[in-house]
């Protein structure tokens, strides 16, 4: 589904942040991307959700070579990937409902066509009561759940999350993890970047370890 081959990445002539990174995400898999801060996890995720392009190597997504894609083809590909950002990236002037509805709104759907879906997903993440609140009035955990709801509302085949439990307490972290596992059970390919060992150990899923820009694979047991 997503394949990296000898990928290298650097920003504007700086040092290489990623070197010879190769891995493949199978459809329906759950994978953790681990490593210390500064190892390049966020950069690798940016390559996955097409925010950056590699300086070397090949990335193929859904059978397409990313390097050969025209700029105009990027939006359609990005719609196949739901992203949960480390800093949530919610739009502060929109309500929780409108933030979650964003991926459907940009597809040109009118509100009446997606209202039920969005309300359902807000209930699923436990925020049905707060759907018309704005992000400034929400707690870190609530914002994180809004970000997850936004990432999955359009039912993308791939979900990418960057430190989804980084700013919340362990109990809430476990709750969010159950959401990811549930989505994975429903067939979504999930890639989670984290430095939270307990999260990885409990899930017993495949692990890509990133250290100083290089990757090693571990945690053989595929989550099932």
């Amino acid at each position: 589904m997503i394949r990296f081959e000898n990928v290298a990445m650097r920003y504007d002539g700086g040092p290489e942040i990623l070197r010879d990174v190769s891995f493949e995400l199978e459809p329906g898999s759950l994978t953790f991307l681990t490593g210390p801060s500064g190892a390049g996890k966020t950069t690798l995720l940016k390559l996955v959700f097409l925010s950056e392009r590699p300086v070397r190597g090949a990335i193929s997504m859904f059978g397409k070579d990313v390097a050969r894609l025209r700029r105009g083809a990027l939006p359609a590909l990005r719609r196949q990937i739901g992203v949960v950002f480390q800093d949530f990236r919610l739009l502060d002037h929109l309500t929780a409902f409108e933030n979650v509805a964003l991926p459907l709104r940009i597809q040109g759907m009118p509100e009446r066509a997606y209202r039920e879906d969005v309300e359902e997903i807000l209930n699923w993440v436990g925020l049905g009561e707060r759907m018309h609140a704005r992000p400034a009035t929400l707690s870190g955990g609530e914002k994180q759940r809004i970000a997850i709801a936004r990432a999955v509302v359009a039912r993308p085949p791939v979900l990418v999350a960057d430190e989804p439990t980084g700013s919340i307490d362990p109990e809430m972290g476990a709750r969010l993890m159950r959401l990811f596992v549930e989505l994975n059970k429903l067939g979504t390919t999930v890639l989670i970047a984290t430095h939270d060992r307990s999260l990885v150990d409990n899930a017993k899923a495949r692990e890509l370890r990133l250290f100083a820009g290089r990757i090693s694979q571990a945690g053989g047991a595929r989550w099932s």
Partner: protein, 298 residues
């Protein structure tokens, strides 16, 4: 908990926040541009109308002037000239002006001087038939044969000057309008880029969620369309207020120029086009600027 029960917005919130994009300054600039555009357009339309009025007044009229010629009495020449005029196609009527009328015409130049000792030419006021063209050269030839002291003046010399002056004012005004439109477009380009730069976070999130450049451009262009339209209306209102105040204040010789300030209904349609043009310029320019910006940053 009161925040939990926040109400659903009546309409979907615009994706770009209203504040922080420097749009207040653009509104001011666009309103001033529209105000100037309204005044310039009123000047162009007023000049055209004034020239048309003058021309219509002048072209309907002509004058035959008869000077004393040795050996032929003035009255004989006047009678001969009238005969020629009445027999000429294209002339509706010809009337000999009385000595008192001639004196009245000369008064602005000569004052109340006694004119009995001065040889005053005889004048025949000619009204032209607008439906039938007059062959002025043929008429001149026949007039001078019948009355050697007669000369025919159809005011074409004045007409040519007035037409040239009014068309110069018109072209000048349209050139100024074009410059105003250009300056307004440039302001919109800067404002649209600044708005996107200020809301870079929104643009990034839209990109990441798979928004096409055309979608983002559409979101921005309608904002600028509304902004341009309202600014245009503000400018039009300002121009109308100024014209109204001038009409109330004018009561001297400057009142002759009032047609420029009080346009007829037909011209008001053109002035109402200024807000529409402001909206259209703002929208299309913003779309182009945003598309260019996104092509470089996507």
């Amino acid at each position: 908990m009161e925040l939990n029960e926040a109400a659903r917005p009546a309409r979907p919130t615009p994706l770009f926040p209203r504040r922080g994009g420097g749009e207040g300054a653009l509104f001011g600039v666009m309103a001033i541009m529209s105000f100037l555009a309204c005044l310039t357009l009123a000047l162009a339309l007023g000049a055209a109308r004034l020239a048309e009025t003058w021309e219509r007044g002048l072209t309907g009229q002509a004058t035959v002037q008869i000077l004393e010629t040795p050996g032929i009495a003035l009255e004989v020449q006047v009678t001969a000239a009238l005969e020629v005029l009445n027999a000429t196609p294209g002339i509706a009527s010809a009337r000999v002006m009385s000595a008192a009328e001639s004196a009245e015409l000369l008064k602005p130049w000569l004052g109340d001087a006694d004119l009995s000792a001065v040889p005053v030419p005889a004048l025949i006021a000619v009204t032209l038939d607008p439906a039938r063209p007059l062959d002025a050269d043929a008429l001149r030839a026949r007039l001078s044969a019948a009355a050697p002291g007669a000369s025919f003046d159809d005011h074409s010399r004045w007409n040519a000057g007035l037409t040239a002056a009014s068309s110069a004012i018109g072209w000048g005004a349209y050139a100024i309008l074009a410059l105003i439109a250009l300056a307004a477009s440039a302001s919109v380009v800067f404002a649209a880029r600044a708005a996107l730069q200020a809301h870079r976070d929104v643009v990034d999130v839209l990109h990441m969620t798979g928004a096409r450049a055309a979608f983002i451009a559409r979101e921005v262009q309608w904002r600028f369309f509304m902004l341009g339209g309202w600014a245009g209306l503000a400018g039009l209102a300002g121009a109308a207020a100024l014209a109204g105040a001038a009409l109330l204040a004018a009561d001297g010789p400057e009142a002759a120029f009032l047609p420029m300030l009080a346009p007829p209904w037909r011209d008001l349609v053109w002035l109402a086009a200024v807000p529409a043009a402001a909206a259209a310029i703002a929208m299309t320019t913003a779309r182009l600027a945003v598309s260019g910006f996104l092509a470089r940053t996507a």
